[in-house]
Symmetry: D2
Subunit: 316 residues, 4 copies
């Protein structure tokens, strides 16, 4: 927060004392709360940032809105469509409050550049997106433990790609999805009916199409890539997930190392995202990224999971 | 043919006198035929090369086999599965004769390199393929006129990607396909129920999956790309369809021009392919690329077209 | 400064009221001085940051040291070798004070990565450097007006490459330099005996060699690149001055836009650099980048300028 | 030769019986000679191809010209400037005969593309060349044994870069050169006063400049690169010596393998070169690449070697 102009971190809340100690010692947060209701009652608090389990998002957002606070919440909004709608309904009752779900990739400089170029007609009319979220293989399989509550690979990973596709294609209505997947390495995902590699086709109205790929098993690093094709050109963000500007020429050939995780890849974007939220709160400016976007991403993500399980297209 | 060791071009056949004149004047072919049966009766003829309309392939191959000739035939073998099987049955009666369908990409040096590396375990166990065949936009729309008989974008373009996916994944049995497409520019394809951009998912046994993309509308050039992901790495052939080794830095940024068509991209591969055929004929060596492969590519391609039209997965 | 942990901007100094107003209004600096001596007397000031004309650097650094302040000063230390030595002598009398000359590229993440890899033996023994600093062509020719006091292209631009070469090659003693240059566009540089494109060879002891290229006339952007070759490999920083992770495929081919100036290229490095300085001041840790390094860079830069004018090698 | 239209290999000549046997068995050459004079007397011989030790080139070319034969000879023409001039004088007496020295890189498709683009003004006025010829490290040190007669690294390797620089810059007169070098690995080159890594600056008239780098010690492969900078852009041939279109993503990062030697890099160019020669002979068309070019390359190469030894610039 110290890096976000206009924002001051006044309080932190967690049921875990270890987290509160870290907030106090590392972030020098002056006020600490174990109880969320107590946090919301903190005098002088303008906005809350929710980095909590997804299942808690809806209720916590609603509670914050009712307490008159702006809300920034990590994606996804919820794994349950009804919950998404409840949050949206509550937000509609507080038009003066900002609610932003953290689809961080929209704030990445390269994605922003792509978006602006599309707006300026650089690729004609965009009609096709290929977007992937591929995590580096983690021998510890941390995400496997998380699989029970993650909503599966499409709601956990592809939700970003879904949001990007909608944004870059001009928010078309989805019509039909089809998904498939495989367990290439993590056989223990079977218990959660989840896969470690998934692909999907999402058909929108007016002949717009998105194809998604999500993976947990990349060897070379975290590989996030999005390609947008239009009638007059194509834009690609992240064709090589290079770690930095260093290139190595040695017995392995000419090569570059790769970013190991989304954090290194989107570190700057997280800052831009939060700054955009704070700026919007301070300027009372409407955010482009809305709860409707977050709801739609969840809706499509759920359909992908249904298709994966039913092996049938799912109509939207 | 003058560039293929061990081969001599002894005769040419075409119903069109203009083609025969070109063969005589440009290729210096000594013997010319208007009639295919007459060609097959030419004394000293060992093999025929069929560069004819797809609808003629099956009968012409069968006729050649019955005349005791080896056959090289451009892809696809046929748009009709029954025809594919008739050809295979006939070929089975002539085990001493070679029949090769021209899936030229298998003979490209980069694809060969990828194949060898996979064989040597470079990426562990391969389980996922993304493969695309994207033609440069042709304002004359030549392919539109051809659409009536091409079999559609999947049988015309993706058939290459299908063959590559099977080859690189170790010839797994296909299980289910799903396809979608759009007419981004060429609205006149509607009359043929064809699209100018198509995507598809092909699920194989044992959790292997291929995703295909075919397009007629690229602005930058002919963009053929194949990605093979395994449990220990990923190989990509053609991530940038660079025309040559020249890079330009100017007001447009840092850039390279692209190959305009499959011909520039696969010029060397055509030569390698024909040389491999001639070598196999001369050495009586079994070809790795079989009629069963060509039949399977047509079978999957037909299923993709069915899925595109029915908007339903097609079981194989 | 608000982005540098541990630092607080307490005062600003400039003879120009417009600059002071900007400091007050934009940076919210609480104390403003027109007079440098008055600034140095400011109570509670620990360190000064000098972003002043090069000709003022030596005296201002000496004055700050005598006032007991740590000093960060933009490169180059001075265009005059004697001045460099005077500053070093003064600094030696204040071993408890830090003086850092802003060779910002050393703090760039990619250069840092290269340095670490070399330390870990990634390229065997490094013996050859090629390093370039190429500015985008500026139709306004701002730098031409600056040419009278810049010290010429080698002291203004290549001084960075000189410092990088020494650092990456392990600080070898320079032995002999040879330089050449041309005025490709800016003929008006003739009055300053300066060029808009210069190349140079710098021979160090033990057969280590660096080649430099500096330019003011690039069309595509600011192109800073450094290549370090060792007995077991080569590292390249900045082989393509890509603006971000966006790639465009259109009628111009496949391309990326480029950073327009050193500021976009080294924005993060400036922050890292200042943070490193502040950290060193707070931890009383010795800086790796010393006044001796800055002096050596000036010494070699002067020799390059002499060689350019005399068309003879200059011994060091 | 079987791959060169219009040419027939009628005879071969070598003093070594093993070479003659190879020509007979592998190339099926019908006529074999141990004696060069006897070869030249062969009935029906139009042209000779000299792939002989450099020291023999001048006399063999002159003898062939006097016998009325066209001559293709491997580079360099000679290591001796007087010999170059003797050959040119003899050639001038046979204006109907073609003599071509094999500067193969001019015939590479990428270099040809660069040349055409420059002719069409793509980079404005070209004024700066950086060109390198870097061989992969050979643990057997074959070239060391060859060093006694190679003329040293500049006449052996950089002679290509010299020729390219002259060609791409519009054949300007050289004015002054300066060279330096080091023995990074091959200390045994000291006996030949040669180096395994050399750099040089060549100044031409009108402010045009070329910088050369030659190396025998690359780890990653054969790395031939040329950069041409003009007032409106820059062209780079070979910025990454990629082996083919395959890219590997694995634990080493994202990478490509490299061509191991000039042969893989310039295989197609050799064919184009010989075809151009044969075409010129048959069409009686003047070759763009002349003996004057070959002489100039040797002249500049000799000057580089002199500068390396004298540590002084050499005027031309």
């Amino acid at each position: 927060m110290s890096r976000v102009p206009g924002a001051t971190l006044v309080a932190a809340c967690s049921p875990l004392s270890s987290e509160l100690e870290w907030a106090r010692d590392t972030l020098q947060v002056p006020h600490l709360y174990e109880d969320y209701t107590a946090l919301l009652a903190h005098d002088g608090l303008d906005a809350v940032f929710l980095v909590t389990p997804t299942s808690l998002h809806p209720q916590q957002i609603i509670q914050a809105l009712q307490a008159g606070k702006h809300v920034f919440c990590e994606k996804p909004l919820s794994l349950d469509l009804e919950d998404c709608r409840r949050v949206s309904a509550e937000a509609a009752r507080h038009p003066q409050l900002q609610v932003m779900i953290g689809f961080v990739r929209r704030f990445d400089a390269s994605y922003q550049d792509a978006y602006r170029k599309i707006q300026h007609g650089a690729i004609g009319s965009p009609f096709m997106v290929y977007s992937q979220t591929c995590d580096q293989y983690d021998p510890d399989g941390f995400f496997v433990k998380f699989a029970a509550t993650s909503g599966g690979i499409f709601l956990d990973c592809s939700v970003h790609d879904i949001d990007l596709a909608r944004w870059l294609l001009g928010n078309p209505q989805p019509v039909r999805v089809y998904a498939s997947g495989t367990r290439a390495i993590h056989q223990d995902l079977a218990q959660f009916q989840d896969v470690d590699n998934g692909v999907a086709i999402c058909e929108f109205e007016n002949g717009k199409i998105a194809t998604f790929y999500a993976s947990r098993t990349m060897t070379h690093g975290h590989d996030t890539m999005t390609e947008i094709t239009g009638t007059a050109g194509r834009l690609t963000v992240g064709s090589n997930p290079r770690k930095n500007r260093l290139e190595i020429a040695d017995a392995h050939g000419v090569r570059n190392e790769c970013v190991p995780s989304f954090f290194e890849r989107f570190e700057d974007a997280f800052l831009t995202e939060v700054s955009a939220f704070v700026e919007a709160v301070r300027q009372r400016r409407k955010l482009e990224l809305t709860l409707a976007d977050a709801t739609e991403a969840t809706r499509i993500g759920i359909a992908l999971r249904e298709s994966l399980l039913s092996k049938q297209p799912v109509l939207l």
